[in-house]
């Protein structure tokens, strides 16, 4: 199954939304059929997963959830969503239920809203990632170097265990020189204000890497007029089509992590 998440707004003037669609994007490539399920939001308190049910989402139904719809401060809680067969309350581990089985991922539209516009991308947190020991290599050209532009980095991490553990993340340039490092946490939607790092981002590519943690890397930029951009980077497997794609992921990760 896929989990979804609500991004914490990077600035006070922004809001966060998500469209969750309980339908297959492509019936021919999907083993799962749309079913009436219970939509929950959930977060970790460090020792347990706390679930709250939002509604029952019927076959092919959609819901748009705004951050203000949840009685939670996104600065203190990283909020994820799941569609479950049974109502959930508390759990000591997350279950990867057999839903969303598809060659073409069932995704949600993950959005940031400003007064006059939106920026979004089609995203999900694959259930297959929650029991893995993750690492990260994200090569991004999406950091914009201009005095009117602010850049932020999200790293979304979700594990089956609710434990909140710290891990280290480094930013490298293409010469493998570490130009900054910071802490991230498991089961959090980590938000890093890149403007606070006092780096002159004047290169075309930066590598965000971690040896002991990972997740979905997302890059958000906003200018003084509230133009916005939101996009994730591809996992290393996406530079290769067919064959042994994970071999090339291992080669890339071992290079940048060494």
């Amino acid at each position: 199954m896929n989990f979804f998440f609500l991004l914490k707004p990077a600035l006070k003037s922004l809001d966060s939304e998500i469209d969750i669609v309980n339908a297959s994007p492509s019936p021919i490539f999907s083993l799962s059929k749309s079913k009436k399920l219970i939509l929950h939001y959930f977060y970790s308190n460090g020792s347990e997963w706390i679930f709250n049910d939002i509604c029952s989402l019927g076959v092919n139904e959609t819901i748009t959830i705004k951050s203000r719809d949840l009685n939670l401060d996104l600065n203190n809680h990283s909020v994820f969503f799941s569609l479950n067969k049974k109502k959930q309350n508390k759990a000591i581990s997350l279950k990867d239920e057999d839903y969303h089985m598809s060659k073409i991922a069932w995704r949600a539209n993950i959005k940031i809203k400003s007064k006059n516009s939106y920026t979004s991308y089609q995203g999900e947190y694959p259930g297959g990632m929650i029991d893995k020991n993750l690492t990260l290599v994200s090569c991004s050209p999406m950091i914009q170097n201009h005095s009117t532009i602010k850049n932020f980095f999200y790293l979304v991490n979700l594990n089956s265990s609710p434990e909140i553990k710290e891990f280290n993340l480094e930013i490298l340039n293409s010469d493998k020189k570490v130009i900054s490092n910071f802490k991230c946490y498991t089961n959090k939607i980590n938000l890093i204000d890149l403007n606070n790092l006092k780096i002159n981002f004047n290169s075309e590519m930066y590598i965000f890497t971690s040896k002991n943690g990972g997740g979905i890397p997302i890059y958000f930029s906003i200018d003084n007029s509230e133009r916005m951009s939101l996009e994730h980077t591809h996992p290393p497997t996406e530079y290769v089509l067919h064959g042994n794609r994970f071999l090339f992921q291992r080669l890339k990760k071992s290079f940048w992590k060494s």
């Binding site: 492509s26 530079y239 290769v240 089509l241 067919h242």
Partner: protein, 264 residues
């Protein structure tokens, strides 16, 4: 011979809808694969970040990457080929407004080639360009979207060959987002096939009633921008129907100020 039998096997599977593939296999084992990227040169400009892809697939081998970019107009007319040699780990910006293209929009394909590619061949893998395109109204702030498809490969004799799969039956694609937050939106489709493709686009309101039902024909290497006004924000969903198995569009959503771009 073996590779042609394999191609026929996959063709029949796709054609008859028996465990179809999302993308075909290139015939040439040295082939380089690319998305059919969208560019526009109207009030919104385009930037592409071209990276040495050999440094992404096997960074320990430091080698140059020889790149060809083929650019087509929206009407499928071949406009230009650009050649680049990228040093290891090099990334270059390509600004489409500086290319003097005789089209306001269209598609481009990016094919990489490097000498030490034995590991890819040994593992039946193909290098693929699905990189990052930015769009901007002021050429300062860029709104990014990554590649949408593994659309085509470059044959030995430098012909662009489609990898998109199709069937004799109509398939449905349902972009998993809502449209009732915007005033106008475009769905962008490109055609890497050497044949015409038909698309049917249905728009739906909140109660799942059909609002529009439109048909589009897309000739070879054409790009189509299907534009929908949504003044009263009645359109909530769209569905796309085609013989193509994975007719996923690039989407532009327009708001009172600015725009959003994403792949559907």
């Amino acid at each position: 011979m073996k590779i042609y039998i394999k191609k026929l096997y996959y063709f029949l599977r796709n054609f008859l809808k028996i465990k179809p593939l999302i993308y075909n296999f290139p015939i040439n084992k040295y082939a380089s694969v690319s998305d059919a990227f969208y560019f526009r040169n109207d009030y919104i400009k385009t930037i592409f970040f071209l990276s040495n892809i050999a440094s992404h697939t096997n960074p320990k081998i430091k080698q140059n990457d020889f790149v060809k970019i083929y650019i087509f107009s929206n009407k499928g007319e071949f406009l230009k080929i650009l050649n680049f040699t990228l040093k290891p780990f090099e990334t270059k910006k390509i600004l489409f407004a500086e290319l003097n293209l005789k089209a306001n929009y269209g598609s481009f394909y990016v094919f990489h080639n490097f000498h030490q590619n034995e590991l890819l061949i040994k593992n039946n893998s193909f290098v693929t360009e699905r990189g990052y395109v930015g769009f901007s109204e002021n050429s300062i702030f860029w709104n990014f979207v990554h590649g949408n498809h593994n659309s085509a490969y470059l044959s030995k004799n430098n012909k662009i060959k489609s990898l998109m799969t199709k069937s004799i039956f109509i398939n449905e694609y349902f972009p998993q987002l809502t449209f009732n937050d915007c005033d106008k939106f475009d769905l962008i489709f490109t055609n890497s096939e050497n044949k015409k493709i038909n698309y049917r686009i249905q728009t739906y309101d909140l109660e799942n009633n059909i609002i529009n039902d439109s048909n589009f024909k897309l000739n070879s290497f054409n790009t189509i921008k299907a534009s929908f006004t949504n003044n009263h924000k009645k359109i909530k969903f769209v569905k796309i129907f085609s013989k193509m198995y994975f007719p996923r569009p690039v989407i532009f959503k327009y708001y009172s100020k600015y725009f959003d771009v994403l792949h559907g």
